[in-house]
């Protein structure tokens, strides 16, 4: 089930909220767990057992790790947790990728497994590993209550598209959390904002992208227009989903960490990755990069560390070469910034922004492609190497059709509205906020009831 759907908004959510509010405190986690299982099973009826099996295995291993903390058995159990969780991820997400490449390299034709990817497996695998690793490190105690641990992993607000919430961050809230009108009101506001970002902006920009992909009337400027629209689509889709997750979390009494912070205003790629998918970047930093030695090693080893992390970041996004190249592309840029020129680009206000937007645009052309071959074609198209004309009829039409959505998207991807906040405008906003949110909810409902374009971008994650 996805948040931006009629079944979620008007069937699932009201029932869950109602039950959640009426049951006594000690049953609230059970209600959340049950509803999260329904939420997950709605899209993945069979794989719900895989998710619960992963939780059960790590629940037992967490207890064993804690029990043997300080001796070699803890390491064995930690290794088992890694093998079990990453093994499932590897089997379901990457097996066919490896078989395909093995076949290509050897000329053999090993049968593909053709396994459907369990939705959200990359997210919940990383969440549960953050738990067992933190238990191993002694940062948190093992959770003795299976329902509490399963609630943490399966919690429907962040289950299928993040943010990657760490156990340590909500450990206390899993046991005791407070509910207030202030939090609920803030959660509603955040949820409706995220829903609007996803349905009104991301989906409309997605229409542009789909039109571009479906037409043969391409041109160089059309490639650029597509890439800009795609960057904004992914940003509003993903950050909108994170907003919805954070908002729902607040309504249910949780405080999830922020996942996006206006990444397109960055002046360096390093800054971009501090603002884009923050929970993933910090996960790799804390559970891969730093354990490998991070910056506290010699330069060669540090380079290895950086490229391992960015290889994995790319691969995490999808089992295709274009994702690996996309990750390594950022690895190269971050290395160059680290060793050569970051301070220079960050000094210049204008150049830094142009630099980031240009390089991220190229990265999104690679990211949005269905394969490496397509990625090469997309990047080639942006630079006119495919012999395309500069403009085409479809490009001109698309500009006329989507110019305002693009302008709104560009403005909304910056914190420019904060500049407009004065004591006077804040008063006005306080008055109109509720009607604006109501209108936004009804508008998004109109888009959803129309059955308009509503893609699910996280199927690869």
């Amino acid at each position: 089930m996805v948040f931006s759907s009629i079944p979620f908004l008007y069937y699932f959510l009201p029932v869950v909220i109602l039950f959640y509010l009426v049951v006594p405190k000690k049953l609230k986690n059970a209600v959340l767990l049950l509803s999260s299982i329904v939420f997950y099973a709605w899209g993945e009826p069979k794989y719900v057992f895989l998710m619960l099996g992963t939780v059960l295995a790590n629940y037992i291993l967490g207890i064993l790790i804690e029990k043997h903390r300080g001796n070699s058995l803890a390491k064995v159990y930690m290794t088992m947790s890694l093998m079990f969780s990453l093994g499932a991820l590897g089997y379901f997400k990457y097996a066919d990728f490896f078989i395909e490449n093995f076949n290509r390299a050897t000329g053999l034709s090993v049968q593909l497994l053709n396994i459907a990817l369990p939705i959200g497996i990359s997210f919940y695998t990383f969440q549960i590993l953050s738990y067992t690793i933190d238990v191993y490190r002694g940062n948190v105690s093992a959770q003795k209550n299976f329902i509490t641990l399963a609630t943490y992993v399966a919690l429907f607000p962040q289950l299928i598209a993040g943010p990657i919430v760490r156990y340590i961050d909500i450990e206390k809230e899993l046991k005791h959390r407070t509910h207030s009108f202030e939090k609920i009101s803030a959660g509603i506001s955040r949820f409706v904002t995220g829903l609007s970002k996803k349905v009104l902006l991301a989906n409309t920009l997605g229409e542009l992208c789909a039109f571009f992909q479906g037409t043969t009337d391409k041109s160089v400027l059309f490639y650029w227009l597509y890439v800009v629209a795609y960057m904004l689509q992914v940003y509003f889709d993903f950050s909108g989903y994170s907003d919805m997750a954070i908002g729902l979390g607040k309504i249910l009494g949780f405080e999830f960490l922020e996942n996006f912070n206006y990444p397109f205003i960055s002046k360096s790629i390093t800054e971009f990755w501090r603002r884009w998918h923050i929970s993933l970047g910090s996960w790799f930093r804390d559970y891969v990069y730093i354990p490998m030695g991070g910056n506290r090693v010699n330069k060669v080893r540090m380079l290895v560390n950086i490229f391992v992390v960015w290889f994995l970041t790319g691969f995490w996004h999808g089992a295709e070469w274009n994702f690996i190249v996309w990750g390594l592309y950022f690895g190269v840029l971050l290395t160059l910034e680290k060793f050569f020129y970051r301070s220079y680009v960050e000094k210049s206000k204008v150049f830094g922004h142009i630099y980031v937007l240009f390089l991220t645009a190229v990265s999104f052309a690679i990211f949005g492609a269905g394969s490496m071959k397509e990625a090469v074609s997309y990047v080639g198209g942006m630079f006119g190497v495919n012999g395309l004309p500069l403009v085409s009829q479809s490009f001109i039409y698309t500009v006329k059709n989507y110019w305002l959505v693009l302008v709104i998207g560009i403005i909304a991807s910056t914190p420019v509205w904060k500049l407009a906040l004065t004591p006077k405008t804040e008063k006005v906003w306080a008055v109109v906020k509720i009607p604006v949110l109501v209108v936004l909810l009804l508008l998004t409902t109109g888009f959803l009831a129309d059955g308009a374009f509503n893609p699910f971008l996280y199927f690869r994650f």
């Binding site: 089930m1 759907s5 009629i6 079944p7 908004l9 008007y10 069937y11 959510l13 009201p14 029932v15 109602l18 709605w42 899209g43 993945e44 009826p45 069979k46 207030s180 009108f181 202030e182 609920i184 009101s185 803030a186 509603i188 506001s189 409706v192 409309t204 479906g214 037409t215 043969t216 009337d217 009829q393 479809s394 001109i396 039409y397 006329k400 059709n401 989507y402 110019w403 305002l404 959505v405 709104i408 306080a430 906020k433 509720i434 949110l437 109501v438 909810l441 009804l442 508008l443 409902t445 109109g446 888009f447 959803l448 009831a449 129309d450 059955g451 308009a452």
Partner: protein, 365 residues
């Protein structure tokens, strides 16, 4: 604090209120505006839940049967076009008082499919039996609407030229020069019968027969909301259907072969005129085979017409020039079965299709 309570209460009422409406007052099962049956509540079973079909069908049900869905669709369409200033909504656009659908991609595979099916018919039934084989293409109304209004469009001239080359064994009859945008319904894809009498005369002349052009105009006493009307989800005034009659048409005998069994019927089916798609009143709409016999014809010439839905309103206008017209729609009858219904010896044969179908010809069997 007060504001937070108000926000919470307002949204609780809104979400729970809509939720109650969803459960107890879903939209009707038939959409008048979209002229189609909407999804019904899916069957619940262990099988349908375990394979996920219940969930996907429920999502369709919940979306299609959403209370006041037409109102919400209209809000969406108006927001997209008036606030976001989009030039189309769901690929449909309004220009020069018409609604049309963007169709700018030529589909060579579909054109090839049509070519192969026509060649099969020609070689199987027609070759050696008659030399009077004609081909005509009806351009979509985008031909007269899209480019002029800045919408992406198929290159119709190039498309028609290409199709002409593919069926070079037929004589081509050009009707494009006689068309203007008023020849089409404003809310529908089809052409208006009362506006295409000149086209019927031209086709008749090209095929060497005289076609009468004097008719009485009859106005259907029901507004016609064409196929685009519901899809665009914006308030657009309906069309009116005018159908033509004269003595020849009144006296002609129409026989339908809906299930292969002959059944006498009307040229203009008034039951269908009151149905979900009133355009189907012309020769009863989707019909695999039908014949129109004109006992008062001054000739014994026969016409065999392969056509799509545009042919339904055209065929009656050719009746005066023939003693019998056999109208075949190979979307609903296999080409292999055509021989049982038509005698091609010395007959005129006309293939007349819209660019819309030729560019999406998979339905031609």
């Amino acid at each position: 604090m007060k504001k937070n309570i108000i926000t919470t209460v307002v949204f609780a009422l809104l979400v729970f209120g809509i939720s109650v409406l969803c459960v107890f007052c879903p939209s009707p099962g038939f959409s008048e505006s979209e002229r189609r049956e909407l999804a019904s509540f899916p069957e619940i079973s262990v099988q349908s839940i375990s394979d996920g079909s219940f969930m996907s069908q429920f999502e369709t049900y919940a979306t299609e049967r959403f209370p006041f869905r037409d109102l919400f669709r209209s809000i969406k369409a108006n927001f997209a076009t008036k606030v976001f200033m989009k030039k189309d909504n769901n690929g449909l656009f309004a220009a020069d008082g018409h609604i049309s659908k963007i169709d700018n991609e030529k589909n060579p595979a579909m054109m090839k499919h049509a070519e192969e099916r026509f060649l099969y018919l020609y070689e199987t039934y027609i070759k050696g039996k008659t030399d009077s084989v004609y081909f005509s293409v009806i351009p979509d109304k985008n031909f007269l609407l899209a480019r002029e209004n800045g919408y992406p469009s198929l290159n119709y001239e190039e498309f028609i030229d290409e199709m002409k080359q593919k069926v070079s064994y037929m004589k081509y009859i050009d009707v494009t020069s006689l068309l203007d945008i008023d020849d089409f319904y404003t809310t529908d894809t089809h052409w208006r019968q009362e506006k295409i009498t000149d086209i019927a005369v031209k086709i008749g002349n090209e095929m060497g027969t005289d076609v009468m052009a004097t008719y009485k105009e009859n106005v259907l006493d029901k507004p016609f909301y064409g196929v685009y009307s519901g899809q665009i989800a914006m308030n657009f005034p309906p069309d009116e259907i005018v159908y033509l009659t004269n003595e020849t048409l009144d006296n002609a005998t129409v026989t339908y072969y809906g299930n292969g069994i002959p059944e006498k019927g009307e040229m203009y089916n008034m039951k269908k005129a009151s149905g979900k798609d009133p355009y189907e009143m012309f020769l009863s709409g989707t019909m695999p085979v039908l014949t129109i016999e004109n006992d008062n014809a001054k000739t014994d010439k026969e016409l065999i017409m392969f056509r799509d839905s545009y042919g339904s309103s055209l065929a009656p206008l050719l009746v005066s020039g023939y003693s019998k017209i056999t109208v075949l729609d190979t979307r609903y009858i296999k080409s292999e079965a055509v021989g049982s219904f038509a005698d091609f010896n010395n007959a005129d044969v006309l293939f007349i299709y819209s660019t819309t179908l030729l560019n999406n010809s998979l339905a031609i069997r």
